[in-house]
Symmetry: C2
Amino acid sequence: MSSDLGAPPAVTRRLGYLLKHAQLRLAELAEPLYAPLGITGRQLALLTLFGAGPALSQQEGAARLGIDRTTMVALVDELEDKELVRREVAPGDRRKRLVTLTGEGERVRAAGEEVTRHAEALLLAPLAEEDAERLRAALHRVVRGE
Amino acid sequence: MSSDLGAPPAVTRRLGYLLKHAQLRLAELAEPLYAPLGITGRQLALLTLFGAGPALSQQEGAARLGIDRTTMVALVDELEDKELVRREVAPGDRRKRLVTLTGEGERVRAAGEEVTRHAEALLLAPLAEEDAERLRAALHRVVRGE
DNA sequence: TATTGTTATACTCTATAACTATA
DNA sequence: TATAGTTATAGAGTATAACAATA
């Protein structure tokens, strides 16, 4: 599916339309750049999540991304198959699995984040740098709801 | 799935994350308001599309929304079952079906667009009016790619 | 031959319910 | 009893392929 063309104002001014198509365009720009790394944007999001800060359990990670814990199982499986992450039993609670990056996972994460910056720059190219930063800040406040 | 909570900066600053969660929050706010009208946000988008300007064929409508023509068939079926739209053979080309709104469809569209404005206002509540308008303008330019 | 609408089908993404092991 | 992870399964949403009617 391609991004879009000139739909009449009534539709294209809807926030739902704009958010959906901005996402589509970003995916079109970014996915081809992730492909050489052997991962999808979704998988990189997980590497970014589990690569930063203190180790998280699968369920903690799922909550932060707003996805179901059963979905997280499959996503971690994918990354484990690629040997980019490991599951480790949590020291304090043997029910929990902490997800940590392997050396290779760390390398892919770093490369992927560089690619992400590039793809985002392509998407935001129509905007002045100041406006791009305002867009990001506005979305951030809207998502946080404050 | 709920919207999200405090994920670490590395993830929450990603544009893909922000766009997805803004969309999720908007849907959470809007869908309950559409429900009393007996339609989904998706269906209202179609009413808005086919209600504005000159009549469009299914395929023209699909192109403008960036969806597949086979998907459009099912969506128009739904609205036709609810008697909100009609399919009419195009005068000049008997292969094409122009989609037009019924009287009831027009009423639902008007009410739905009012609800949309309300839901968007709720989503954008954290922003000053000026910033909200800037956000919409920035997304518009990004989606148009210029 | 090409295009529009349609149907049948399959694939992806996601969630719900039920199981297990641990707490 | 409750929670973390897991599995099986089902439901959206979407696309691909093939067909009928029309151009």
